[in-house]
Symmetry: C3
Subunit: 646 residues, 3 copies
């Protein structure tokens, strides 16, 4: 391993049964031996608490720890993640095992940190429908609302005679003839995420209590919705995530391109890098990097030659301080036999091994990413929109990525932050949707613009209050003054309609949009896009710009297709004075970090890079092979342009 | 409201919890106040019994009222319609609350009528699988059959050893390895519909007992199958239904046209108008008219400008005496926040308000519709064919609409009646299928034809007896003599086969059909269509005509595509001497009622109307804008033709 | 019946309730009468044990016999196959009723044999999740493994902490958050099949005990996976299966061709014929032959004129000694009313009657099929690949048919045998996949090749051990020496990639493949195919040939499309010296049996047959009409070629 340039070994994430073969009888011999070997070769150990897979003897003793589906079916032992976050019994057992492990390795210098559990919420396990959860939800609701009258008022339960007479009637969502009450659904999503936060804190506190030099991390997942990473992050020292590029892209689009099947989609990957870097505003880790073909995507393609190396550099360019591969060697048994490792089943080097070794030689220490742009993201908007999408193809994460792609096409670094984050340090802010909006948030965004910030707002902004009820003034509710326009109507746009807008200036420029259209009524703001196609009557306003103080805000009432996103974002960056490249082709991405500039080619054709000035290349040069990259000294982003050599 | 031309206000359909916040403690203050206001402005009130949404305190006290899914899962409180029609507990509670309300307003002159409950059966709630239902079904079966031997005989239970040894073994359909017994399924469908009838009667009787000047109505739904509206109608004074044109069309077809996304499909709408008018053979109400964009269709498009006005006139032309909008103001909370009202969430006028106001000014009193043609419809055929469709795309309602569209293309009014209805007053009868057929029905249809009626029969006629068993003679069983032909074979037609027939005369006319093909053997009748394509061997007979007494019957063994339906129906109307227009384009419809003729344009191109004589236009003139209409004095249907101006 | 050429009548497969209307009270009168009639007309009777449909009185008395779904839902009475194979109660009841029946007819000369039960496993009923099954599975596991440590070792349960502490913890698969452990799933599949074997043996033993002249058979189904027919066959004297050509083909492909909708796919049919003939290596029966249109396929097309006759001859050519039609007369009641019989519902002759009568006149006695080629098939491979297909379109049976079609295109007879079968008598062996491979099997295949056999191996061979764990050496594991190559990587191939290989000789020949690609590393073997397209980097090896002793082995690392399968198989046959025809068009098939050669036309165009020498035609001649056949004297397969006359 050390030969491969490996510095950290993460271990033991599902090892409860080998660590504790029977209650109270722990066996550390094997683990001590491995840690010893790792130490001898100068590597360091990240241990995992083993709670993601409670062993059979524990389930047999305390079956009440098991989760239940919404229809009441027990989720049994036989795979993983079969426990309920709100089970008192499981919290006791988790505390017990984490404490024993933490104490055992508290003074071991080779163990540098811990991962709590593994991939909270994977396989749809964030939300549980057991009686413990019902009871915990009642307690949670009592904390949130002073009285049941307040609850009725906040949620709006008069509709369909849904009022609660007392808190005891509050229940988790059960099978019902029609849809759930959206405010119940929203609070149940909050509660479920909070349950994970609380459970994670329980582990983190024990680990810190044992050795406060340890870092505590958790490995999050691709575009994962049901757990609020910002909230969990408050109890972590380091954020990490598990990156499987060829799998994620097959989940994201119906039919991945040939290049995407080989190397993934760079924006989908870096969206996660940027999000998880932003959670603590510090370098993150990739805790599981795809090492070759993997078992779970629909199609298990082989990554392109060099792809594993490209991913390691790409992560680094976006702020990763370590890239850990999952797994070392292909496993001979169980559910993940078809998941490659760096080594094959017979122990010989597999494709990823060579890539990983090369990347390890090339990587170097570098300062953290400093992004001039923030993209606003709030899990609560995802939950609210997920409950009432109002169009079959309205997916919160895809909307975010539509705007995100517009930013990345300009080679500009971006933080993905919660709306409550201070925006002072940013030149521009892009909010694909501020769906649940409060007056306080409106004030903060207004202050940002007044003091010179440039703000881009997307559709469905200001539509609902924090409880998931409609604002009583028309959309964008509390943001109306800031936007200088209101939404007369909204409609969802079926794919059979030609959905296009044109610019209101004399450039004769048309753009496609999709899924969502709002009819804006400017009131102080300047119309900048108008409908011009089948979806909405020609001439109605689709986007406006409003000057406020030193800055301005653009409100875009449609879901932009790429060209529109690129141009809208481009104007915002221009006005905000953000340095940027020429518009990049989709398979090529540029990122700068700590005084270096990465140019990365996720395509199967070579490219050539044109710079305005002379560049000094730390790695590679201006011609970049398929699935390869170059690194230039300095922030050479301005004026950088790329040609594809076909 | 009064300014908007509103005459009736329907209220309180889900208000149990505000009316009775705790058992026995009623609060009428708010309702009295509203009724007072309505009265002051000269409007009238239609109250609803609040039983569609039993409140939480009632569910907590008597949880046995809840429905169960087929697999036994309880349908919990948290949306609406969570009660079982056969729950004795719920019948008691319903009686209690309806009695209190009825007595409270028995002498209130502002209250003119009642709607029982709301949309019986919505969200798949007609059929319940609780123990109360199992027991009620056993009682129902004992009523229907003299002995268990009779039951075994009627259903035919020897197959797969399904005989019942005594009535106690009779059970509702439970999860089984293979399909249900079709005769059990048919009787369970009858029982479930009867349970609704019985439950509705319980409410209607109380309301009438309190004030027999009140009308009692219920609001039915679009093409709703599980509740027999004819049977429920026997306890009602007025039939109403809930019309959502842009939603219904998206449920009906895979990909709605642009025009349909904006204004719905006129034939789909008027099919409902005609059906619900025919239930009591008197004017109906639209109790919920779509007022703008709504929350539940796949895509929530905005109706075309003027569409809400067009729908009001269209309903009137088909026999509506009132069009009530749902809802007055957009609701800020709960499951239907995305459902428009006539007023926006902030109380200002929304799009529908203007349309509704204009329509209210234009509407006028007019006599009832008098239709020369009857289309036969029996819910029992829908249930039997739904259980054994025998082709993936065989949908009873679509078959009915295939023939219905043929009638409406000629601008002819049509009643949609149960086969037991007297046919004396009709010149022509179209029966898209008489699937379950008895000798009595055969006799009545024969008598109709013998005395000069023209009858058009569709496929799968005479296939089964009233218990859902095959007729022991070949199809069309008891109608064989009438038809003058038998069915040698039937087959379902996959879409990959070219399905065409041609006329047996020398006109060289081909027609497309779909889904179903019967090989007819004429025995006395005259072949009029023969197969000529891939689906069935060329030359076999697809349709016949048989003269009987003064009239004739056409039996069509295929499911006709539009051109065939139009031509088949056209010949029948011709022979029957029914006055009709030239064949109308799909987006244009003509209807006459009480001495006026409506010409309605559901398309986005203007049209011009050509009449044989001079017309006097009560509204509009011969040029009709998109989504607009004109009304002529008199029955100007003969020779009327329409051109689309593109 | 006798007039129709019928020799055998199968009866009483669902007649428990009429035979035993109440416990212990048997009524044989009706059956005796029918048997009497059959005997009078010189026909013979095959009786069925009635256990596929336990009557209601039995279920009411002993409800524990019912199956349960995986989520615990009871599969109730109301259709058929609602019993659990492991229910002690049901085994008692089955024994009782079979014993009574067997004794009753033990001395009846008209009864010549018995069918046990009916279509074991139909409707997904092989695998049951009741407590009896859980307990039986624990016992089964105890038999298979000496200790729980052995079990843990064999399955590999360290992964995800899945170790069992004692046998009592072993459970059937229950609902879990993530996938099942594949080794548990594999053993549960084995156990479930074994449960059927055991249950069937119980019946077979009683029948034999009563009269050991009787043959005992069971009617298997099309490509049926969950029951191992080889294992069940060990307790049977005769194998039969139920053939529904127009239904099977609609299950097999997304869109059947017009010809297939009329006559099925000949290779799909004969695959079953060959499989079920090979189980006991003796002539089989078609126990249910489709007699016309049937009720259960998606589309219920009418078979082509003559198709029922063609199917009877086709079955005979593949080794059938009897073709029994289901059913005699269309049933008026219950779930299968839409299933044709030889007679219509009114008793008159239906289409199948005429075909069956003609076939009966033409059929003649003939020796058994003698096949020079074996195709290896093991249900356990189907179960293992079904649990981890690793590509959405990887279906075990389709893979087998890809190679099988290659054999049949050469007009060569083929046995479909279990890998444990002696291969001595075969010139060539085709193994589409030897997925679960042991050293013993590798030795046997090596011995076959060494002694001059020609072997063709398909992808995923040697991938796993018998417990479903990865081999610890790289693929093909224990077959590596035989193959002379290893698999560097495998990948699944999405349909959007152009998947092609070319020959390594200088013939410039390209072939398409699908779904699966392996990167081979030759080590002693000769590359014969290399990748040349989008799916895998050009030049990598896709197939190799290795000479061993007197024979050779070809390993093909891709799933071949038809042209590649035909050419690969052709070379193997050539080297093996197997006599074969010119490559046949897809709709034409040739089979020889006992000195006769059948040429069968499953297409809608006539064909003409060219022979190298003079042929004497026993039936028909060299011009064959659509859906017709000819039979030549002698094995005229060499050089035979066919032209389609369009
Ligand atoms: Mg939050
Ligand atoms: Mg009826
Ligand atoms: Mg076996
Ligand atoms: Zn829980
Ligand atoms: Zn019920
Ligand atoms: Zn069982």
């Amino acid at each position: 391993m050390a030969d491969a340039g490996i510095e950290y070994v993460r271990m033991a994430e599902f090892s409860w049964r080998v660590l504790e073969p029977e209650r109270g009888e722990f066996d550390f011999e094997w683990l001590d031996e491995i840690i010893g070997l790792i130490g001898e070769y100068g590597m360091e150990v990240v241990l995992c608490t083993p709670t993601a897979a409670p062993p059979r003897w524990l389930v047999a003793e305390r079956p009440e720890i098991l989760q239940r589906d919404r229809d009441g079916t027990v989720r049994s032992v036989g795979s993983r993640r079969h426990y309920c976050f709100n089970s008192e019994a499981y919290r006791e057992e988790s505390e017990r095992v984490v404490r024993v492990l933490a104490e055992r390795y508290a003074d071991d210098p080779r163990v540098v940190g811990w991962q709590t559990d593994n991939e909270y919420g994977c396989h749809g396990t964030t939300r549980c429908y057991c009686d413990d959860c019902a009871s915990a939800f009642r307690s949670w609701v009592r904390q949130e609302y002073d009285s049941v009258a307040d609850l009725n008022d906040a949620w709006g339960t008069t509709f369909w005679s849904q009022q609660y007479d007392d808190f005891e009637q509050v229940d988790i969502p059960r099978p019902t003839p029609a849809q759930d009450h959206p405010s119940l659904a929203l609070d149940f999503a909050r509660f479920s995420s909070d349950s994970v936060v609380e459970y994670n804190r329980l582990q983190a506190d024990i680990l810190r209590g044992a050795n406060d030099d340890w870092f505590v991390t958790h490995n999050f997942m691709n575009l994962f919705e049901s757990v609020d990473a910002y909230d969990v992050g408050e109890d972590l020292d380091l954020i990490s995530w598990d990156s499987y590029p060829t799998g994620h892209v097959q989940q994201a689009v119906d039919e991945a391109s040939t290049d995407e099947l080989r190397a993934g989609n760079p924006d989908l990957l870096s969206f996660n890098h940027d999000l998880y870097r932003s959670v603590l505003d510090r370098p993150f880790w990739v805790m599981e990097q795809q090492p070759g073909d993997v078992n779970w995507p629909p199609h298990s393609t082989q990554p392109a030659p060099g792809a594993m190396r490209l991913w390691a550099h790409h992560a680094t360019a976006h702020g990763a301080d370590a890239v850990v591969y999952f797994r070392w060697r292909r496993c001979l048994e169980g559910q993940e036999q078809y998941h490659a490792g760096l080594r094959k089943q017979d122990g010989s080097a597999d494709r990823g091994y060579h890539d990983a070794t090369q990347a390890a030689e090339e990587l170097f220490d570098v300062d953290d990413v400093d992004a001039p742009v923030a993209l606003l993201h709030d899990y609560e908007n995802a939950w609210a929109l997920g409950e009432q999408p109002h169009a079959p193809d309205f997916d919160y994460w895809q909307l975010l990525q539509a705007f995100y792609g517009g930013i990345r096409s300009h080679g500009v670094q971006v933080d993905i932050v919660h709306p409550d984050t201070s925006l002072e340090s940013y030149d521009a802010v892009v909010a694909p949707t501020v769906h649940l909006a409060t007056a306080q948030l409106a004030d903060r965004l207004t202050a940002f613009v007044e003091s010179g910030g440039e703000l881009l707002l997307g559709p469905r902004t200001g539509h609902k209050d924090e409880y998931g009820k409609l604002a009583s003034s028309v959309q964008p509710g509390p943001l109306t003054d800031l936007v200088g326009a209101t939404v007369d109507q909204h409609e969802s746009v079926p794919p059979q309609l030609e959905a296009t807008v044109s610019r209101t200036d004399d450039t004769q420029t048309w753009y496609a949009f999709r899924t969502w259209a709002e009819w804006l009524e400017a009131d102080g703001a300047q119309p900048i896009l108008e409908y011009d196609g089948d979806a909405v009557e020609d001439g109605r306003t689709a986007a406006v710009r409003n000057r406020i103080g030193e800055g301005s805000v653009v409100y875009c009432g449609v879901w932009p297709e790429p060209d529109l996103a690129v141009d809208l974002v481009g104007s915002v960056l221009e006005r905000a004075g953000v340095r940027r490249s020429a518009v990049l082709p989709g398979g090529v991405r540029v990122a700068h970090r700590g005084g270096y500039t990465w140019v990365m080619n996720f395509g199967s054709d070579p490219i050539t890079v044109d710079l305005t000035g002379e560049a000094s290349w730390r790695l590679g040069d201006e011609t970049i092979d398929p699935f390869d990259l170059s690194i230039a000294d300095g922030d050479v982003v301005d004026g950088l342009s790329v040609r594809i050599l076909e």
